[in-house]
């Protein structure tokens, strides 16, 4: 929203993503910050950055599917598994170059996603959640038993390399993840601004009305599953190469629930939402890793394993808090804050 009295006088102004000089300043400062992070030479911050980046990529996909098209999916973690195993197998068994393998794993995951998203033509809402829940377990079971691609042992991945450049340090991996995340964010930012995104939003808001407007609802639902799974596949592939192994253990149902939770906490149906959600999730995780042992010390009745559960407990409580108190997420809080700041001495526009 533009402030009162400021009008767009050309189409390029109307279309612009970044509208003011201040926004340019913020953007450049933000890019400066994320690309200057390796200069601190702190492995811990880099690990955080890599995990946040991977989650951001994955969440953009889920956001297009759930936030814009309104199709609830619990299968996202399973789609990430497909991506992880495809990427590692393509590189190890078929000697694909890393980036091509990452792209192909996105494509393969798209096909799987469309296949398991197919029930969405007939059912929606709660029933689709059940179908994707079943899909999650079926996909994980198939990968678990398929020994040729790694099975329950998992598939070890070599160090990634792009042409002559070997991605062997976490600084390089951080830069790689960040660049992919920025490209992913750029695409995700422009999907809802295009006719594609408007069709998605129409399907979400009222599918029958969308059909009357001439939108092929089934086609756009498939497309949403395809795009969303592409993101999941790329994120899964990156995760496999970061951990050095593709394993079904990283992608439990809890992970799928957490991805939806991050989206809700960040803000559903906005481009900033996934970024806020991923950052907030990682912060809570780190907080509980630090605070966990202290909490356990003060509550002597708890068992040895309690410290490892603090993260899950805290995050579940946060998700519940956000669903009940602020279902539009951090993004909405941020927008409210911005508006307050802009209108500062006055309370109304």
């Amino acid at each position: 929203m533009r402030p009162c009295g400021v009008y767009n006088t050309s189409y390029s102004q109307d279309r612009a993503v970044i509208r003011t000089n201040l926004q340019w300043g913020w953007l450049i400062a933000f890019f400066g910050f994320i690309f200057a992070l390796p200069l601190l030479k702190n492995e811990y911050f880099l690990t955080l950055g890599i995990l946040i980046g991977i989650n951001v990529i994955s969440l953009h996909g889920l956001n297009i599917l759930t936030g814009y098209t309104g199709q609830l999916s619990l299968g996202h973690a399973a789609f990430m598994t497909v991506g992880a195993f495809t990427a590692s197998n393509l590189v190890v068994e078929f000697n694909f170059p890393f980036l091509l393998a990452l792209f192909c794993s996105g494509l393969v995951t798209s096909v799987v996603g469309v296949l398991f998203g197919a029930p969405s033509i007939r059912i929606k809402g709660f029933y689709l959640v059940m179908a994707t829940l079943a899909g999650h377990y079926v996909i994980l079971f198939i990968i678990h038993r398929w020994e040729a691609i790694g099975g329950f042992i998992g598939k070890l991945t070599p160090t990634a390399s792009i042409g002559p450049l070997v991605v062997d340090t976490s600084v390089k991996f951080y830069l790689l993840t960040t660049i992919i995340a920025i490209v992913g964010t750029y695409v995700a930012l422009n999907v809802p601004r295009s006719n594609l995104g408007r069709a998605f939003i129409a399907v979400r808001d009222h599918d029958i009305a969308a059909m009357i407007l001439g939108i092929n609802v089934a086609y756009y639902k498939f497309l949403a599953f395809g795009i969303s799974s592409f993101y999941a596949g790329v994120a899964g592939g990156l995760l496999a190469f970061y951990f050095g192994i593709a394993h079904t253990q990283f992608f439990s149902l809890t992970q799928a629930v957490w991805l939806l939770g991050m989206l809700i906490v960040g803000g559903l149906g906005s481009t900033l939402g996934p970024i806020f959600g991923a950052i907030f999730f990682q912060l809570i995780n780190e907080l509980s890793t630090r605070a966990g042992p202290i909490i356990v010390k003060f509550l002597p009745g708890l068992g040895e394993t309690a410290a490892s559960q603090i993260a899950n407990i805290l995050w579940a409580i946060f998700i519940l808090f956000f669903i009940i108190k602020e279902p539009r997420g951090i993004n909405h809080m941020w927008q409210v804050l911005k508006k307050l700041y802009r209108l500062h001495p006055f309370s109304h526009e």
Binding site: T66, F126, L133, Y137, W258, T305, Q309, I313, L320, P327
Partner: protein, 291 residues
């Protein structure tokens, strides 16, 4: 032939367990239109509370205390989490109960440790032969208890004031309110009954296997039962439970040697098929959406 009969008997016992797990989910859905993904977590937590009481209290005190403790738990869940969410979009409800599931799992592991807990053997040991089929005594007790619970539940729903009020509430909240029924009390009642039944389910599943963080997976598999039977039908949950138990037992019997673990995944494949072919289940209400 004997093997097939034995498999059938195993399927029936398994089916009764699935029914027992599925019925509270149906009950809560009927009353408050919330599909309780957290049911497995409540089973685990209730089962563990019962486990602690069994080791520390005399037997006659255990049952009433567990019922009170678990009932309070059900009420708190309903009051704190689900009352504010009345009228919210379905994603909020699903995610809230899912978050509860993970919360309860993590709480159980945090408080009771990751080691699987086994109940003391309070049920008689051994097994009896019915014709060529061997059934273990705990299984028989389990079936008897489940049938008794079903009878009580049927009487409650069809002949008591609150049960009838619950049936009305499942028809429509506004309708129930206009008849002078206090819908909030009905919601709370449904959750309390569901939590108590979940504990019974947790006890029987835990007695057979052990109480561990894998117990909620049984509840996840029983979602297939709920949807096969139809979301609104207690009768459907029983019949579908028996069907699904037999499917799992027979799939395990014929295919288990070739693909280990296929029996466990069979309900999910069934769930996918149900979703594609008959999403409202056998006895569910087919909802016609009007624009």
């Amino acid at each position: 032939m004997t093997n097939a009969l034995q498999t059938f008997a195993n399927g029936i016992t398994l089916g009764f367990i699935y029914s027992l797990v599925a019925i509270p989910i149906v009950l809560v859905y009927k009353a408050s239109k919330v599909f309780n993904f957290a049911h497995g977590g409540i089973m685990l937590l209730g089962g563990l509370i019962l486990y602690t009481f069994l080791y520390h209290l005399p037997l006659w005190l255990v049952v009433p205390l567990t019922i009170i403790a678990v009932g309070i738990m059900g009420y708190i869940i309903q009051r704190i989490v689900l009352t504010p969410l009345i009228g919210q979009p379905i994603l909020s409800l699903i995610l809230a109960t899912m978050a509860l599931l993970v919360l309860f799992n993590s709480l159980s592991v945090a408080i009771w440790g990751a080691v699987p807990c086994s109940y003391p053997s309070i049920l008689p040991m051994g097994s009896i032969m019915v014709g060529p089929v061997k059934i273990s005594k705990p299984d028989i007790i389990e079936i008897l208890v489940i049938v008794a619970i079903l009878g009580l539940l049927g009487t409650f729903l069809n002949y008591t004031k609150y049960g009838l009020a619950m049936m009305v509430t499942s028809e429509g909240h506004l309708l129930a309110q206009s008849l002078g029924i206090r819908v909030k009390i009905i919601f709370a009642l449904a959750w309390i009954i569901a939590a108590i039944l979940a504990t019974v389910g947790g006890f029987f599943v835990g007695y057979k296997l052990a109480l561990s963080e894998y117990l909620p997976e049984v509840a996840l598999r029983s979602f297939a039962v709920v949807l096969l039977g139809g979301l609104e039908s207690v009768k459907g949950a029983i019949i579908a439970g028996l069907i699904m138990g037999n499917i799992e037992a027979f799939v395990n019997f014929y295919l288990g040697d070739y693909i280990p673990g296929i029996g466990v995944i069979a309900p999910y494949i069934g769930l996918l098929l149900i979703m594609c072919l008959k999403p409202y289940g056998l006895f569910g209400w087919v909802r016609i959406e009007r624009v």
